[in-house]
């Protein structure tokens, strides 16, 4: 699936450029995007070292376990496949909390660490488990309490009420998250039905 999307994005772009005379822009975009991707990764190195290092301390001291135990009733129904005292729980929670408070650069390392734990739980297979897809769905829906970047841009443009969108945004992001969880569950049921049929 990802292979098809990747190739289609390229080919449509190249063909479109051929017919619309935007080949110059395309050439420029290829190298700019590649450089930009590397810049992102370089930027990620510092936050990954810092947050994964710090989270390792929290894991070893038992703080993550405590967090996982505290929020267990809330998170169990969303991730029913994860054993209750598995370290993945702690990382998933840290990821969600960091997202909630808009600490984007802390959320990514924790989410990746959670993914790693989930992959091990899945026997190291290179296709995603049910929990991995759920975690991804939660992250793509971008559950945030305060959209700081948007507020900043509204301030720059001299809004009379830059923060008036906080409430509506929260409502919208809750809808997206809920939708993501429901759609994720529906796809899971569909997969299970298919497996049963194949048996």
């Amino acid at each position: 699936m990802i292979n098809i999307i990747w190739v289609v994005l390229f080919l449509i772009g190249l063909m479109y450029a051929a017919f619309n005379g935007t080949m110059d822009a395309v050439n420029q975009a290829i190298f700019e995007s590649a450089a930009y991707a590397v810049t992102i990764c370089i930027g990620l190195i510092s936050v990954m070292i810092f947050w994964l290092g710090l989270m390792k301390v929290a894991e070893r001291s038992g703080l993550l376990d405590w967090l996982a135990r505290f929020f267990k009733p809330l998170i169990r129904p969303i991730f029913p496949e994860i054993p209750p005292d598995h370290p993945a729980m702690g990382y998933i929670l840290s990821n969600m909390i960091a997202n909630l408070f808009g600490l984007g650069n802390a959320a990514t390392p924790m989410g990746i660490k959670a993914m790693e734990e989930l992959k091990q739980l899945n026997g190291g297979r290179n296709s995603p488990s049910r929990s991995m897809i759920t975690l991804l769905a939660l992250n793509t829906s971008g559950l945030t309490l305060i959209p700081t970047t948007v507020i900043a841009i509204r301030m720059q443009n001299k809004s009379i009420a830059p923060t008036e969108i906080v409430g509506p945004t929260l409502l919208a992001t809750l809808c997206t998250t809920l939708a993501a969880l429901i759609i994720d569950r529906l796809f899971y049921y569909q997969r299970r039905r298919k497996e049963r049929k194949n048996k």
Binding site: Y16, Y36, N139, T140, S141, T148, T163, T169, A172, C175
Partner: protein, 177 residues
């Protein structure tokens, strides 16, 4: 607003203090564990690089060629039909594909129509209500070496579609047109 900014300024320091105090209380060698954990971070960040370069160049080509705008024009009648203002259609389509692209587009919309206009508010809510699905899938699955993405992208994109519709409905309901 000041309370919110103060909160976000204090969040990280307080978090660090809690983790380190708890570790000291449990008498574990914090610094050594930090360094050991950090080493994993380097490996992970570098391993994402090829995934991100591949995906971002494909998206870059798709946008720069004008195909992106073509797609927006194609979908405009359909999305207008369900009540979305034509001005924000490109943003709705770009949002799950490119985070920076969407941010740029949102700034433009806010600048053109004013932050307190219907379009300006709608653009703000749409930008804030979801994350860049393609980026999240690429980075999270890339880092741990997941080759087959399963239903993940479909789930993300469908949720984005629901989110966009919700954003239009909520903004219209709360602020009016």
């Amino acid at each position: 607003m000041t309370a919110m900014t103060t909160l976000s300024v204090w969040m990280v320091p307080i978090l660090i203090a809690i983790i380190l105090l708890h570790a000291s209380y449990k008498k574990i060698p914090s610094y050594e564990i930090f360094v050991a954990g950090g080493k994993e971070g380097i490996k992970l960040a570098v391993s994402i690089m090829p995934f991100l370069v591949g995906m971002l160049t494909a998206i870059g080509v798709f946008r720069a060629s004008g195909a992106m705008d073509g797609l927006a024009n194609l979908l405009r009648p359909l999305l207008s039909f369900v009540g979305m203002p034509p001005e924000v259609v490109p943003l709705a389509i770009l949002r799950p594909i490119s985070g920076n692209g969407a941010l740029g587009l949102m700034s433009e919309l806010i600048k053109t129509y004013g932050p307190d206009s219907y379009i300006g508010r709608l653009a703000s809510v749409m930008q804030g209500s979801t994350d860049t699905t393609f980026y999240v899938v690429t980075v999270y699955f890339g880092a741990v070496g997941i080759r087959r993405i399963g239903d993940a992208l479909k789930v993300g994109l469908l949720a984005d579609a629901v989110g966009v519709c919700c954003a239009v409905a909520i903004v219209t309901m709360i602020f009016g047109k």
